[in-house]
Amino acid sequence: MLTKRIIACLDVDAGRVVKGTQFLKLRDAGDPAELAAAHSAAGADEVVLLDITATHQKRATLIATVKRTAHELFVPFTVGGGVRTLKDAGAIFDAGADKISINSAAIADPSLITCIAQRFGSQAVIVAIDAKRNENGFQAWTGGGRVASGREAVAWAKEAEDRGAGEILLTSMDRDGTKEGFDCELTRAISRAARIPVIASGGAGSAEDFVHVFREGAADAALAASIFHFGLSSISELKRHLLVAGIPMRYPC
């Protein structure tokens, strides 16, 4: 049986993990390669590295970080943040990433999705959507949540799929950082509309929230940025909780 996935996410700035790494009772700041390996050993089904600065000068640092992180990691590895061109994507794949995640650049030029998918395969392209509720439903935002794109989120997800995206990474801006739980309504709307897998993100405050997003939200995977501070000591403990609740999980792992 295909399991639901728990994906560990590392926010990285200038080669250091800056937050969202509290699964393992480790310091906030840390070495991405070390943390990625630790998450994988602790049961993470995949690892995502998000470059949160992604300024031009720091690209070289990012490539070196990706190379080092990929070296001893034997689970799928995604890199996001600041990918603007096919060349950017190519450099990240060459450094050892299996998938790239694109957001603002895909909205600015949707043909970029097709371009990367044709060269590296759809399985390598994740389109990230930052969605926020408005009076008509859900809207996609770009620029790290600063700019309204004018695109309706469900329609954009379907277009991304048609253009060759292999997965959708969906973040609820309304819930992000609130610990009120995932936006199951949003996740379900996108998951039902798209035929590709949807990774839910934003708002987790308890293990039960993961049960809800898999069950009511029909998510295929969920991103866990920081779960330690709500009473769980590891991804493995989260997965055991989900398994007991009847959610298929890779466990033990």
């Binding site: 049986m1 034997f74 292999g166």
Partner: protein, 197 residues
């Protein structure tokens, strides 16, 4: 020396990295001569079935077939495994090696495609050399849109809108639909079994 065949489709680095980790000597190559001299051959694959056309143009198809006839262990991964069949719906004009009859086709409607994530192996042949020490129900990482039907040589299956081949094995011919290089310690054990043949 294990030859990892480069046909300019996708990421070969992770397969090489996994073998390096196991202490195997590898060479990533597109040269028929180098493949000819290898003790074992691996054909990785991510991307489109049509990319295997490059193997016809470079003469690697003939080299690989000759090596397999000589008894050299051959491992196809993902699209590399699909290429061991006669054809695929993904690119009907491109011919596979036809080591097994049959065609790769799309998943039935009703399940999401691509099939992405960790799925469990249903072991059908406990004597598989590739799966030595790998238990029934072991999870491995899949990512693909086309699937290989059940064959007489299917030694492990998976369930996703039906039952399909996860591992095929006959004498010195081996195929894995999933990515052992991305399947954690279970995947590394399978690669180690191949390395130890």
């Amino acid at each position: 020396m294990i030859a990892i065949v480069d046909y300019k489709a996708g990421n070969l680095a992770s397969v090489k990295k996994a073998f390096d980790h196991l202490g195997a000597e590898t060479v990533v190559t597109a040269s028929p001569d180098e493949v000819e001299r290898a003790e074992k051959i691996v054909l990785p694959g991510v991307g489109h079935f049509a990319a295997t056309k490059a193997l016809d143009e470079s003469g690697l198809r003939e080299t690989i077939l000759t090596c397999i006839e000589r008894g050299v262990p051959f491992l196809g991964i993902c699209v590399g495994m699909q290429w061991m069949l006669a054809s695929s719906e993904e690119a009907p004009d491109v011919h596979g090696l036809a080591l097994w009859p049959g065609e790769c086709s799309r998943f039935p409607s009703g399940v999401k495609s691509p099939h992405v994530g960790w799925n469990s192996l249903q072991i059908r042949d406990g004597l598989s050399r590739l799966l030595r020490g790998v238990g029934d129900g072991t999870f491995v990482y899949f990512t693909h849109s086309y699937r290989v039907p059940l064959l007489t040589s299917t030694v492990a299956a998976y369930e996703y809108g039906g039952e399909f081949s996860a591992v095929i094995e006959y004498e010195n011919m081996f195929g894995l639909q999933f990515h052992p290089e991305k399947s954690g310690s279970a995947g590394l054990s399978i690669l180690e079994n191949f390395f130890a043949l």
